[in-house]
């Protein structure tokens, strides 16, 4: 047995308000680190695109702009349903919250499904570096780098979304169990923050990969 003084739930906080402040600030700091994680990739993208602009135009025209745009709409809608879930939780509307959370989860899954379809198309078109890359046109090396960045960046984004979907799933269970109410719903709020962050990353990825010289 672990002695009581060492038990896991060390009561380090004075009160609920302090706990809430700490959790919220912790989430924001975490998101700051995430910005810098993605920042490396955006910085790398900027440099490589400056060096290979023509290749990026070619590469961008090999992405499926229809599916990309559809996915953007799906993800933006999911941010709306997430915001409504947080509002529901803060008002203590348990059933409504569950509904919005489930809808968010489904939209997240829809995004991942569409993304999988896109990846499959790109595999068939042989523009997947290492696995299947058979693009022979002009600027072949730059196009390779374009798709390398495309898969690394959208892949990392998809990974974040998978984690987000899992966390929203946990929130659905916890909400149905009655963990949250007007007094205590920080986990839902923080899940919302994370979800919106992942959404914002996509808002940058979308024009950088789908819309280069396409307008």
């Amino acid at each position: 047995m672990v002695p009581e003084a060492l038990a896991p739930a060390a009561p380090q906080f004075e009160d609920r308000e302090q706990r809430r402040a700490a959790a919220t600030l912790g989430m924001w700091v975490f998101l700051a680190t995430e910005v810098l994680f993605f920042g490396v990739l955006f910085g790398g993208y900027a440099v490589i695109r400056l060096l290979n602009y023509d290749a990026f135009v070619v590469g961008s025209h090999h992405t499926d702009v229809v599916l990309g745009t559809l996915n953007t709409a799906v993800l933006l809608t999911s941010s709306l349903t997430m915001a409504l879930a947080v509002r529901g939780a803060s008002l203590g509307q348990r059933r409504a919250t569950t509904g919005w959370l489930v809808l968010t989860l489904l939209l997240g899954l829809a995004f991942l499904g569409i993304k999988a379809v896109e990846y499959h198309q790109e595999y068939q078109n042989a523009v997947v570096p290492v696995l299947a890359f058979d693009y022979q046109g002009p600027h072949a090396r730059g196009v390779l780098l374009f798709f390398y960045l495309y898969f690394v960046m959208t892949g990392l984004h998809a990974l974040h979304l998978i984690i987000g979907v899992a966390v929203v799933g946990v929130m659905v269970v916890r909400n149905r169990r009655g963990d949250f109410g007007p007094e205590y719903h920080i986990p839902v709020e923080l899940t919302g923050l994370y979800w919106h962050f992942v959404d914002v990353v996509w808002i940058f990825l979308y024009p950088l990969f789908y819309l280069v010289a396409r307008v």
Binding site: V2, P3, A5, L6, P8, A10, P11, Q12, F13, E14, Q18, A21, A22, L25, G26, V29, F30, A32, T33, E34, L36, F37, F38, G39, V40, L41, G43, G44, V47, I48, L51, N52, P129, V130, R141, G142, L144, L145, Y148, L149, V152
Partner: protein, 538 residues
């Protein structure tokens, strides 16, 4: 300045003696000690690598080691010293132990995350050990591309994985400290009543949280590039090696301040205590800590003065690098001014702290030389650079680490250490350090390049001096292990506050109980309420 009742019950050590209670603890004090054990282990691994290199360099010919082995040794030395000793040295040990005590909290904000950080650190360490056993890595601690992505035949990916993983432990620590300092301060402990050690941890944590993700992602990309042979850093693949260097130094220059900012915090506490005076210019000390934390993110280009960066960005980075000298000099000036008219006494922590100031100044001034464009063309990649950053990292950070060990030893263990031995070790360390690294300034200035196992005979005398110094330094590092070990078992009991120091950590028992304070402390005044004997306090 505050009121704290008696602390009944067992100390944090006496709560339980089982191994399991240590490995599953959420107590910030115990986690601090877990880190002490781990970083001491890695310190000696890296120190042995350095010792073998110094042995090789006693003679100009490469007679002890193959060139390849030498390359692996300096890589191991750099990787382990930087990421497994210096980065966590003061924050993860004394920061963990002292931060909640100094702000009157029961623990850090996220104790489980805190324990997780130690496990993540250990996992990273495991990768490094695997790398070593498998045969090492020879890229240098900087992992420059395209050597890492294309040419090296050693275990680059394993080493990179270790550094990648250990980065998360510093992100966890930094995040935890920021939130703890914001949210967990005792009633009455406003921002400008915080001890400077806490401010230093705050500035350090900001740098940790903002810089480390960049390193992690960059090294991740290097690993992908090496494994898949497609990527953005290797010119043969269409990438840009300068991009790697910018991203690497975006972390690794600020990393120097992850090592030195906490050291500055330690020195501020120690100088105030042993001069019996409040730190001179407290607010300037705070602003200079924060100023350093900001400016260091803008100086990365001074590592690429000769690395095909444009001349104009070189000029801008040179100017920005000079700027770091301003907050650094404010600190040295204020420490000196704190001593002025103080009742100075020279206990071991104070000797180490004064050593820090002297060596940090030497390292800082030579840093100005290196930040000057024209001088750097001559000095870059010579032993001058090696001497410069060792004055900051070993002369600065490690001296302060030893100062902290001695200053807070009575608080952590509840026992006093033998003062005479400690002073002796402090002096030996200062002498040994200078004997090791001052000749390297000279050798570098005369043009001796770094990272070679053999060298022209005209540098022989300087290298013999340096190696002799390393032997003295080794004695200075082993001595504390012996007398502190003795103190742990036989040292006289310390009592709450053997130094008559201010600060909340001195108002609870030594060693402190699990929950730190029996009553939550209240703070009614500024820190460092020392009164000098002349009565000319604040």
């Amino acid at each position: 300045m505050s009121t704290v009742g008696a602390a009944p019950g067992p100390s944090y050590i006496g709560v339980s003696y089982t191994l399991r209670s240590w490995l599953t603890t959420h107590d910030h004090k115990r986690i601090g000690l877990l880190y002490v054990a781990s970083i001491t282990f890695f310190f000696f691994i890296a120190a042995v690598a350095a010792a073998i290199m110094r042995l090789e360099l006693v003679t100009p010919a490469g007679d002890l080691l193959e060139a390849d082995t030498y390359n692996k040794l300096f890589t191991v030395h750099g990787v382990v010293m930087v990421w497994f000793f210096l980065i966590p040295s003061i924050p993860a040990t004394f920061g963990n132990f002292l931060l909640p005590l100094m702000i009157g909290a029961r623990d850090v904000a996220f104790p489980r995350l805190n324990l997780a950080s130690w496990y993540v650190y250990s996992l990273g360490g495991l990768f490094v050990i695997i790398t070593l056993i498998a045969g090492g890595v020879d890229t240098g601690w900087t992992f420059y591309t395209p050597y890492t992505t294309m040419f090296s035949n050693t275990h680059v990916v394993a080493a990179i994985s270790g550094v990648f993983i250990v980065g998360f432990s510093s992100i966890f620590t930094g995040l935890n400290f920021i939130v703890t300092i914001h949210c967990m301060r005792a009633p009455g402990l406003s921002w400008f009543r915080l001890p400077l050690f806490v401010w230093a941890q705050y500035a350090t944590s900001l740098v940790m949280v903002l810089a480390t993700p960049v390193l992690a992602m960059t090294l991740g990309l290097v690993a992908i590039e090496r494994l898949l042979q497609v990527g953005i850093f290797d010119p043969a693949l269409g990438g840009d090696p300068l991009l790697f260097q910018h991203l690497f130094w975006f972390y690794s220059h600020p990393a120097v301040y992850i090592m030195v900012l906490p050291a500055m915090g330690v020195v501020s506490e120690v100088i105030a205590c042993f001069a019996r005076r409040p730190v001179f210019g407290y607010r300037f000390m705070v602003y200079s800590l924060l100023g350093i934390a900001v400016v260091v993110f803008t100086v990365l280009g001074h590592h690429m003065f000769v690395g095909c960066q444009s001349m104009y960005s070189g000029m801008v980075f040179s100017l920005l690098s000079f700027l770091v000298a301003i907050p650094s000099s404010i600190k040295v000036f204020n420490w000196t001014a704190t001593l002025y008219r103080g009742s100075v006494s020279f206990e071991a922590p104070m000797l180490y702290a004064l050593g820090f100031i002297a060596l940090f100044m030497m390292g800082g001034i030579t840093g100005i030389w290196l930040a000057a464009l024209a001088a750097d063309v001559h000095l870059t990649d010579t032993y001058f650079v090696v001497a410069h950053f060792h004055y900051i990292m070993v002369g600065g950070a490690v001296m302060a680490y030893f100062s902290a060990i001695h200053f807070w030893w009575p608080k952590i263990t509840g026992r006093l250490y033998p003062e005479a031995w400690a002073r002796f070790a402090a002096v030996v360390m200062f002498v040994g350090f200078n004997l090791t690294f001052f000749p390297q300034y000279v050798a570098g200035f005369l043009g001796m390049p770094r990272r070679y196992h053999a060298y022209p005979p005209e540098y022989e005398v300087l290298n013999i001096l340096s190696s002799a110094g390393a032997a003295v330094l080794a004695v200075a590092y082993v001595l504390p292990l012996i007398y502190l070990g003795w103190s742990l078992l036989r040292g006289p009991l310390a009592g709450r506050n053997p130094w008559a120091a201010t600060g909340l950590e001195w108002q609870t028992a030594s060693p402190p109980p699990r929950e730190n304070f029996s009553h939550p402390p209240r703070v009614n005044g500024p820190p460092y309420a020392y009164e000098t004997e002349r009565g000319d306090g604040p």
